[in-house]
Amino acid sequence: MTMKKTILATTALTVSAGLAFAEAHGNMADSMTLVSWGGAYQASQQKAYVEPYLAANEGVSATWDESSNEAVAKLRAMNEAGNVTWDLVDVVASDAIRLCDEGLAMEYDPDELLADAPDGTKASDDFGDLIVSDCFIPQIVYSTTFGYRTDMVGDTPPTDVCAVFDTEAYPGKRSLEKRPINNMEWALICDGVAKEDVYDVLETEEGQDRAFAKLDTIKDDVIWWSAGADTPQLLADGEVVMGSTYNGRLFSVIEEQDQPVAMLWDAQVFDLDGWIIPAGLPEDRLARVKDFVKFATDTQRLADQAKYISYGPARQSSAPLVGQHAELGIDMGPHMPTDPANATNTFLYNYEWWADYRDDLDAKFQAWLAQ
């Protein structure tokens, strides 16, 4: 008798618990495929919000696909094949704009999808201008900037981005990214164009020639990189005296690997990285992704991410919460590209402009390189 009662009670409990669970979680898929860049950045995402999310949601699993580099092409191919296997994709802002343009990313309403700041500020205000596309869910602000070898620049370390073009004062090789974006802007700035006029000048044939002419002056001294890890390696090996790369990569060379390298924050170019949700996800997967994104982009989670990597959280409300590095125990604030001391002279990369001129200038740039 008691046995039977126990079984009944247990069954009842299990069923009601199951029902409650189903009610609370609606129809959510219990697995997600997240796409990111691999390396330290993906690790920071894993620790800051994927692990806490999985801990809070038992039975859910997350799989990483390190394909962000080719996300646009792969997503387009998946879309054409009618089988999108990704649930959430980490891309830079310019790729998000293209995915949105191609109809491959889902448009969303920030105030509905994303959590409010703790003080009640709406997400759309908290993220502000950083939502550069209707499909783009910002996570971090990073910058492309220069690092230099402290032991190779003599007694006067560079303070100005134009040191890159000054081979007399700073002899040796430099590394620059093998694409026109950023390089053209720096060339013009160092050729005397005011920051706010850069894109107006670059729009004209003469302006482009001017930028190429400036780059010509250092062409023989440049090693062109295409992977983010190249410049850190070249700096560590002493192959180059200075080189451009993402600020997080330089942080790890300087602080984690203790190389004689320093940051040249001058004229750093801000860029954004964030999530997009692929268009046309089935409802259960979409529900799961929405639930995850709301959690992963809230104020605390974005601030937590800065413990693992020196990229600035995209929410204004996260900035005051940025603390110390999880392992090194150093204050992360001064290493953020957005820190006032580092951001005295910054340059904002114009996404819309590059969406137009990218094809044309890239062809010119590659032809110029090949000459």
Binding site: G103, W224, D356, Y357
Partner: protein, 547 residues
């Protein structure tokens, strides 16, 4: 005995043809037997054949087809493309009002389906600035309809109600059905309404289809696109059939028809130029027209440094010519890599084939070990060796051969690519050579020597000719692999050591210009096939042996 009898007593038919035992002509019976045999053979290889067709040939063909396919323009802007037929780029003036009117319809529909930006990025490959023009126009196109919407709504508030529209344009059957089933009921136009208000009916039907298929909404409850008001203005001011119309809301339409004469009107052309000045630019229109056919030679022209402009085929601007150079460089460097592989592999293969088994096995492992090592590891290893602060330079400076200030530049240029790729592709040369050399009997060389040949003559006249098939096989393998390589050139090639495949990879994964990538790939494939054919003519493919 019995055979001979059978032969002499062979049956023949009326025409004197030989017959088989069952009476059918022998020829036909033989053909049938052979056919059956062939079918059986085909059935045996069918699984493999189908597998290769489906997983290899079909995707490649599909990808190559993209190099000429260009349906996106005609699919996204169908009305505009037709209207543009009348217009000539040579006229030097922007097209007339009908083209802009067609564009308003196409752009509205494309923007609702979010297809306009995709077309924008397609056309941006040809003319810079179209990408943002289309993005902007997709956002601004609603203004065109809202201009009239406000006037209709000022005239009578009934025009604000979605139901007004639904009752005029929806058939009675649909109106009844949607009341019960909601969005499930498939929309259909009222009889006669398409004749009375042709433009409006067309756009409203497109709206209803969009609402049902994309948003899964009931058109009865949804505001129509603002453009519908512009269409209605057009229909009513054109005096079309409001008299003959007697369906629901006839009074409302009569009232509007009487009032439209007093409406403020706006030309589509002015409206578009208001959205963006570029719509007055004939370059934009010239590009749309030049790329409106469903198939285009544009991608192939681009891949040989030409371009399809509104005025015909022109050479690419000098500062954008790159593909000719890259094709030549790819061919040249692949050839250099193949030759250096031959020179390095021949002695190794010779040793492998002629040393005692124990030693040659050890050597073989040394050949195979790098073959099994990751490509990236091997390429990075070359970086460590060749860079200016690298091992080789350090040693040279230490010995004193090279001055510390003038270290050799051996990487991020053609030299680096050739060294790294020669090393990576070497096993593909050694292995076929080795397997051919193994089959050359040593007695031949001994015989030549015993007949008085010197070592060199014995090698050159007797041994070498027999090893040529191995060289041929290895060269084809190495050359074809080299021509399509892109990881190693990307990592160690710098600016002068990159291949055409690096551009193909860029267009496939980064610029998303798949058409151009496909055209470049097709040319590369054609080049390989031509070289293969030439090789067959000159050396003979029968001479190639993999073992």
């Amino acid at each position: 005995m019995s055979d001979a009898t059978a032969a002499t007593h062979q049956e023949t038919d009326a025409q004197g043809r030989l017959l088989a035992a069952d009476g059918t002509p022998l020829k036909r019976s033989l053909a049938r037997a052979l056919r059956r045999q062939k079918l059986r053979a085909l059935a045996l290889i069918a699984p493999l054949l189908i597998f290769i067709l489906v997983t290899f040939i079909a995707p490649i063909a599909d990808m190559l087809f993209r190099s000429v396919e260009n349906e996106i323009v005609a699919d996204t802007l169908p009305r505009t493309v037709v209207a543009l037929k009348e217009w000539e780029y040579a006229s030097g003036e922007a097209p007339g009002e009908p083209v802009y009117a067609a564009l308003a319809r196409d752009m509205t529909i494309a923007a609702e389906y979010k297809e306009h930006t995709r077309l924008g990025s397609r056309l941006n490959y040809e003319t810079t600035g179209i990408s943002s023009l289309f993005r902007k126009s997709g956002r601004g196109v609603e203004d065109i309809g809202e201009f009239y919407q406000d006037q209709f709504e000022d005239l009578n508030e009934a025009w604000e109600e979605p139901e007004t529209w639904a009752r005029i344009f929806g058939s009675d059957a649909w109106l009844d059905a949607q009341a019960e089933e909601g969005a499930e009921a498939t929309f259909s136009l009222r009889d006669g309404v398409a004749e009375a208000f042709p433009n409006t009916a067309e756009i409203y039907a497109a709206f209803a289809e969009f609402a049902q298929t994309e948003d899964e909404d009931n058109p009865f409850e949804e505001d129509p696109w603002p453009l519908a008001y512009a269409m209605l203005y057009e229909d009513l001011s054109g005096g079309a059939g409001v008299q003959g119309y007697s369906g629901p809301e006839a009074d409302l339409l009569q009232e509007a028809a009487a009032a439209v004469g007093g409406f403020e009107s706006q030309s589509y052309k002015a409206a578009f130029i208001d959205i963006d000045d570029d719509w007055a630019d004939i370059e934009v229109w010239g590009t749309i027209k030049a790329y409106s056919p469903r198939f285009t030679s544009g991608y192939f022209l681009n891949s040989v440094d030409l371009q399809l402009t509104p005025e015909g085929i022109e050479r690419q601007d000098e500062d954008q010519r790159i593909y000719g150079l890259l094709f030549k460089r790819t061919m040249f460097m692949s050839l250099v890599i193949t030759i250096s592989c031959i020179l390095l592999a021949y002695p190794v293969a010779f040793l492998l084939a002629n040393l005692p088994m124990r030693i040659s096995n050890l050597l073989m492992i040394l050949v195979l070990l790098p073959f099994w090592t990751s490509l990236l590891v091997r390429t990075s290893a070359w970086k460590v060796l060749l860079q200016q602060q690298g091992v080789i330079n350090d040693v040279l400076v230490w010995i004193g051969l090279v001055d510390d200030a003038n270290r050799l530049i051996m990487i991020n240029n053609q030299f680096g690519t050739i060294v790294a790729m020669t090393h990576i592709l070497l096993p593909f040369m050694i292995l076929p050579m080795y397997s051919v050399m193994q089959t050359i009997p040593p007695s031949y060389v001994r015989a030549a020597k015993s007949l008085g040949a010197t070592n060199w003559t014995a090698f050159w006249r007797v041994y070498f000719p027999q090893s040529v098939p191995g060289i041929g096989a290895g060269s084809i393998l190495v050359f074809i692999l080299a021509i399509g390589y892109y990881i190693t050139p990307a990592l160690v090639g710098g600016t002068t050591g990159t291949f055409i495949s690096n551009r193909i990879a860029y267009h496939i994964s980064s610029s998303l210009n798949w058409g151009l990538g496909a055209a470049l790939g097709a040319i590369l494939l054609a080049a390989v096939l031509i070289l293969y054919w030439a090789y067959d003519k000159i050396v003979g493919i029968d001479n190639v042996k993999l073992g």
